[in-house]
């Protein structure tokens, strides 16, 4: 019998994540996926901002 173990949310980390582990009939791991589930789009919206703003705004990607 196959089954899936889901850890949602993963705690005691910075940010949002989910882990999904699939177990096959023999009891072995057939797949293991770590999903980062938040997205804000820094790569795009930083374009066109003033360069002197970069140290202050990029530090807000993670943890001020």
């Amino acid at each position: 019998m196959t089954r899936r173990i889901t850890i949602d949310p993963v705690t005691r980390i910075e940010g949002h994540a989910r882990v999904e582990i699939d177990i096959d009939a023999a009891g072995g791991v057939s797949s293991s996926v770590f999903k980062v589930i938040d997205f804000r789009g820094f790569e795009t919206f930083l374009r066109g901002m003033q360069v002197e703003m970069m140290p202050t705004v990029t530090s807000r990607i993670c943890g001020t």
Binding site: P9, T11, V33, F39, G41, E43, T44, Q50, T56, R60
Partner: protein, 312 residues
């Protein structure tokens, strides 16, 4: 001793800087922990459920359908909700995504990103909403504590006033209130960028021809940037005056002060702020406080040169 207030924390789309802001209470945290019990803190504890609590602290903004679900679940589980930090109050720095479509954002990160080799947008993750939204666009909020993150003094007062059920003793000043730089009149005739030469550390940035937004930003920070030689980028969100009066406009307020202090014509300053709009409006673009102002034309200001004449 009275029972401790149960406090539950959940994060939406943010950076966890606000959780660190709570740790910035240092020894004061012990005093707070005498009166509260933390029952859910994702960065610290393994409680995954939305357990019942007296006070719910939400950090981060509403960006995905998961954020909407989490915010509603917290509202259901908690008697009082605090919008904690600039993200849930005004949208936060990723509000500047307002200048882009959601499709552009996803393409920019996953398809046209020069530092990755992927060509597909992830589809097994929560759906992005069309825009970035403040928390009160989805649920009722009881207390707002903006700041990026809020200074520990405001966190302390905000939390304890709620636990002790009294009015918070919190000032409504702008950032200039705690800034030690002095405004003086000068002969400066041109706008200078923050990297353009050196600035006198005792004199107001505006007097020296450098754009600083402290005068239109709510003080929830104690003005640390200006003391470190960095002009204010409004990370705490707009001042009370800007929030309360729809006609009051950030760029003309700053231009008026700066033109008064220097020899730079106000219209030059307004034009420069519009040119740098994505920078100076970044943290609160998602908020109706700005979007509903008749003078806020961000999408026009950020349009490529040559298309500026077209209607927004």
């Amino acid at each position: 001793m009275a029972a401790k207030a149960r406090v539950s924390i959940e994060w939406l789309s943010g950076c966890s800087g606000c959780e660190l802001g709570i740790v910035d209470l240092h020894e004061k945290l012990l005093e707070v922990l005498d009166e509260i019990e933390l029952v859910r803190v994702p960065i610290l504890m393994d409680t995954k459920e939305y357990v019942k609590a007296d006070i719910g602290i939400l950090t981060g903004s509403i960006r995905t359908d998961h954020d909407v679900h989490a915010a509603k679940a917290m509202r259901e589980a908690c008697s009082k909700i605090i919008a904690f930090g600039t993200c849930p109050v005004f949208g936060g720095p990723h509000s500047s995504a307002y200048a882009h479509t959601t499709e552009e954002l996803l393409e920019g990160s996953f398809v046209r990103n020069p530092s990755t080799r992927t060509s597909t947008v992830p589809d097994q993750v929560p759906r992005l909403l069309e825009g970035n939204l403040p928390l009160d666009s989805v649920i009722e909020v009881d207390v707002y504590i903006p700041g990026c993150p809020p200074h520990a003094a405001y966190i302390f007062e905000g939390l304890l006033s709620l636990v002790r059920q009294r009015e918070p003793k919190i000032g409504r000043h702008n950032v200039c209130y705690n800034c030690t730089r002095v405004m003086v009149r000068t002969e400066v005739a041109a706008i200078r960028r923050a990297y353009d030469g050196t600035f006198d550390p005792a004199t107001c940035f505006l007097s020296q021809g450098c754009l600083c937004f402290g005068s239109v930003t709510l003080d929830r920070c104690m003005a640390p940037c200006m003391q470190a030689g960095v002009p204010c980028f409004s990370c705490g969100g707009p001042s009370e005056a800007i929030i309360l009066e729809p006609q009051k406009d950030v760029r003309s307020e700053v231009a008026m002060r700066m033109a008064h202090l220097t020899k730079i014509p106000a219209e030059n300053i307004v034009a420069e702020i519009e040119r740098q709009a994505k920078t100076h409006f970044a943290y609160a673009m998602a908020s109706p406080v700005f979007r509903q102002k008749p003078t806020f034309l961000l999408k026009k200001w950020t349009r490529p040169e040559g298309q500026k004449g077209a209607s927004p």
